[in-house]
Symmetry: C2
Subunit: 122 residues, 2 copies
C-alpha cells in the first residue's frame, strides 16, 4: 500500500484519523513537542487527564510508532516518553488544529447559544 484514502470506508486511514483526532493524543503531541517528559510531568502538562486514560493513550501512541517509552535503570525506575520522528511530524498539523480551536472558540460557543435559544423558542 502506498497512500491511504480517507474517503474509502475500507481504508485503514479512518482508524488512524480517529486515533490522531483524539483529544488526548492531540494534547500529548503538544506536550511532548519541546522534548521528553516523565509520566508525572506529562500528566501535569496535559492537565485533567485520569492516569489510566493517559496510560492507555500513551500505549496506543507507542503502538502507532508516535512515541517511545524508555525505562532508565535507576531506583526508583525513571520512564521517559519522547516523540519519534513520525510523532514529531504530527506536531505541525496538530498545532494547526489546536490553533483553529483556540481561535474560533468564541464563535462556536456563540453559535451553540443561538442554536439552543432558537430550539427553546419553538
Amino acid at each position: 500500500m502506498n497512500r491511504g484514502d480517507a474517503f474509502d470506508p475500507s481504508c485503514p486511514t479512518r482508524v488512524v484519523l480517529d486515533r490522531i483526532g483524539d483529544k488526548w493524543t492531540v494534547l500529548v503531541i503538544g506536550a511532548l513537542q519541546d522534548g521528553p517528559l516523565r509520566f508525572t510531568a506529562l500528566r501535569a502538562r496535559v492537565g485533567g487527564v485520569a492516569a489510566k486514560v493517559l496510560t492507555q493513550t500513551l500505549r496506543a501512541m507507542e503502538r502507532d510508532g508516535l512515541l517511545t517509552r524508555t525505562v532508565h535503570a535507576q531506583v526508583p525506575p525513571r520512564v521517559d516518553y519522547e516523540l519519534t520522528p513520525l510523532g514529531a511530524s504530527l506536531t505541525a498539523p496538530i498545532a494547526t488544529l489546536t490553533d483553529w480551536a483556540e481561535t474560533h472558540l468564541s464563535a462556536i460557543l456563540a453559535a451553540r447559544d443561538d442554536y439552543d435559544a432558537e430550539l427553546g423558542a419553538r
Copy 2:
C-alpha cells in the same frame, strides 16, 4: 472570552477539539469543501456512515455553526448542507491532518505490526 487554551482542563477548547477531531466531522468538512450537497449525496461521498450517525454529526456541526441546513420548498422537499465561513475555515487545518494520515498510513501500520509481534514474542 478571547482565546481558548487547550491545555487548561476547564477551557471549553477541549470540547471543541473533541468535536472537530471526530472522524465523521473531518470527512463531512472534506466532502462539503467543493460546495453544498444533499443528504444522500453527502452520505455517498463520506462513505460507510450510518444514516443516523451522519444525521447526528450534521446536527452537531450545525449547532457549532460549521454548516447550514437549508430546506427548499418543493415536492419532495430538498435539503442542502453547506459549510458556513466558519466551517470553511476548518478546511485547511483538516486537510493537513487528513493528508498526514494518508501519507503516513504505511508507517503506522508497520509500527503496529512490530509492536504486536514483539508483544507476542515475549
